[in-house]
Amino acid sequence: MSGTELTLGRAINAGLRRAMENDPKVLMMGEDIGKLGGVFRITDGLYKDFGADRVIDTPLAESGIIGTAIGLAMRGYRPVCEIQFDGFFFPAANQTFTQLAKFRARSGGQLRMPVVIRIPYGGGIGAVEHHSESPEAYFTHTAGLRTVTVANPEDAYWMIQQAVACDDPVVFLEPKRRYWDKAQVRTEGTPETATPMGAARVARSGTDITLVAYGPMVKIALQAAEADTERSIEVVDLRSLSPVDYDTVFESVRRTGRLVVAHEAPVSSGLGAEIAARVTESCFYHLEAPVVRVGGFDTPYPPSRLEEHYLPDLDRVLDGVDRAFAF
């Protein structure tokens, strides 16, 4: 058995290590990622083993991290950037949206941008302001970027390697409240033989309703499916947010006839809205009820003493399922 039990955080660390071993052009860059190993210790030990030239402790300037990563990519490197927290991504937004995402198209394919932006995202750890946001819709709205997230250690291990190997810029969203979740990780094989980064996964089969979730919400979706003894809930873990694997989503909805999409981000103009629109266009005659969205409110992320009310929990997800059946 080449599997091993790892937390999601350690699985990313192991995946990064393997990517660095396999390709000398892979670099880590970010704030405090060297001796400290990052504030969540995701790069723990890499500085010691690969040195300061490959694990670059940057000045405290997010635009600089992404901007210099672009230059390193132009020189043939594959930088993996760590943004310390979701709320600190925004100073780097200009370099990401106006430069990184566009260079390939601008150059007619002459420039490759194999840059990964790792961001610990989402709430649920009792953090202070700017440490609990879900910015995925900004990324999925931007052409030229790929956006993925992971819900379990095995995906974390393989998808970070696939993201590093990808010639497109990839925003890799790490659900920080799941960093400490443990599971068996199959480590034999290569990134090419693992489930592709772009594919959704049916995390639990069901027949009555489809529940689409991703990242930190997958665990809650599975709990909801477990808790509901009356209805058979199918849970689809999207994994890739841009592109979404609509084939898998449509196939599921055509079988179940009902859909709930759950995410932590505010509902308005969020990924749930996009999925609802697509499913309505493509599966209209299979739907027994309107698509229901369960998500965060259209407010700034609240102080952590209120986050249990803000974040969709088991009951809110089940309430969404009830609404889909009440129609």
Binding site: D53, I56, T58, P59, A61, S63, G64, I66, G67, T68, A69, I70, G71, L72, A73, M74, R75, G76, Y77, P79, P91, N94, Q95, T98, Q99, K102, F103, R104, A105, R106, S107, G108, G109, Q110, L111, R112, A143, G144, R146, C166, D167, D168, G198, S242, P243, V244, D245, Y246, D247
Partner: protein, 370 residues
């Protein structure tokens, strides 16, 4: 003249006066043959002509926009001719003179401004990256690239130096200051070449920076120099030295080329709304081309035949620019989807197929455009 202005004047590195007199500088010796000086003169005249032609083409509706380099020829040709083949350039969007030195022609340069491409050339072919519109962004790309050069061990006598171009307005941007800092802490092999043309669209440089730009380098921990940006000799000598410094692993240099934008920011603005004509007249006396011409005549390095030949060459170039511009083909509609991603992206693939079907539905229809 105030004390501080007098001090700044003293700091200005100049090798050729506006009257065309050579003034040797102890730190920046420059030993050019007559042929090399004639070559610089030719470059200056030709890029001015290329620029004038592009302005005219914009007025004729052939280009959507043009950012004129008029007045900044010496800063661009001087620094551009200091580069070695292997050096790598990260330009802003007005650096047509540097592009000229890298071997780009009107076919490459006009595409962005005509709207047939958002790029126009292969950066690797020319060691000249794409024009950057979002002010200052390229300074970070250059710094990252230089960090890569460093990691590749590509320094030393035959090594690579990186240079990035930006204006005085860009020094207000966070990215430019982050680039200074990243380059400094990494000791990156880079030259920051600021063309201070005194105006960021309608805002004078005193609205951009309280401190003289070149002095800012000291705060980041590397040398900063102010050079007469209308003096092609000084720009060449100082840039050559800064590139050597970078190549030898001694880290970044900031060069502030003190120059003047004689025209509008782009063909879209009207400088008469925000500045006085007396200012332009004063700078006219410091013209980068006339002083080299005066030097060539004074030194007996060129005769009327030479100047006539350069003028004739400029005429030919003008005609070529016009022809090249009009010959740039419009892209095909489905090119919108080209090269957005390296690998298939199902959303885009679906949209492309739908749009192709939509376009095909017009085929054979009366009056269909394509």
């Amino acid at each position: 003249m105030s004390d501080s202005a007098a001090h700044e004047e003293q700091e200005l590195i100049q090798l050729l006066t506006p009257d065309g007199e050579s003034v040797p500088h102890p730190d920046y010796p420059l030993d050019l043959t007559a042929e090399e000086v004639r070559g610089l003169y030719r470059d200056l005249v030709l890029v001015r002509r290329l620029d004038a032609e592009a302005v005219a083409l914009q007025r004729q509706g052939e280009l959507g926009l043009w950012a004129s380099l008029l007045g900044q020829e010496a800063a661009q040709i001087g620094s551009g001719r200091a580069l070695r083949r292997q050096d790598v350039v990260f330009p802003s969007y007005r650096d047509h003179g540097v592009a000229w030195c890298r071997g780009l022609g009107s076919k490459e340069l006009l595409g962005l401004f005509r709207g047939v491409t958002n790029g126009g050339w292969d950066p690797a072919e020319y060691n000249f990256y794409l024009y950057t519109i979002v002010i200052g962004s390229q300074t970070l790309h250059a710094t990252g690239y230089a960090m890569g050069v460093q990691r590749d061990g590509a320094l030393g006598e035959d090594g690579i130096a990186v240079i990035t171009y930006f204006g005085d307005g860009a020094t207000s941007q966070g990215d430019t200051n982050e680039a200074f800092n990243y380059a400094a802490v990494n000791n990156a092999p880079i030259v920051f070449f600021c063309q201070n043309n005194q105006w960021a669209i309608s805002e004078p440089s005193e609205r951009q920076s309280r401190a003289p730009i070149y002095q800012r380098a000291a705060g980041f921990g590397f040398p900063g120099l102010r050079v007469d940006g209308n003096d092609v000799f000084a720009c060449l000598a100082v840039t050559r030295e800064a590139l050597r410094h970078a190549r030898e692993g001694q880290g970044p240099t900031l060069i502030e080329a003190f120059t003047y934008r004689m025209g509008a920011h782009t063909t879209s603005d009207d400088p008469t709304r925000y500045r006085l004509s007396a200012e332009a007249e004063e700078w006219q006396r410091k013209d980068p081309i006339s002083r080299v011409r005066a030097y060539l005549v004074r030194e007996g390095m060129a005769d009327d035949g030479f100047f006539a030949a350069v003028d004739a060459e400029a005429e030919e170039l003008g005609a070529r620019v016009r022809t090249d511009c009009r010959a740039l083909p419009d892209p095909a509609p489905l090119d919108i989807f080209r090269e957005v991603y390296a690998e298939p992206h199902s959303h885009l693939d679906r949209q492309r197929a739908e749009f192709a079907d939509y376009l095909a539905s017009f085929e054979g229809a009366e009056g269909a455009a394509r």
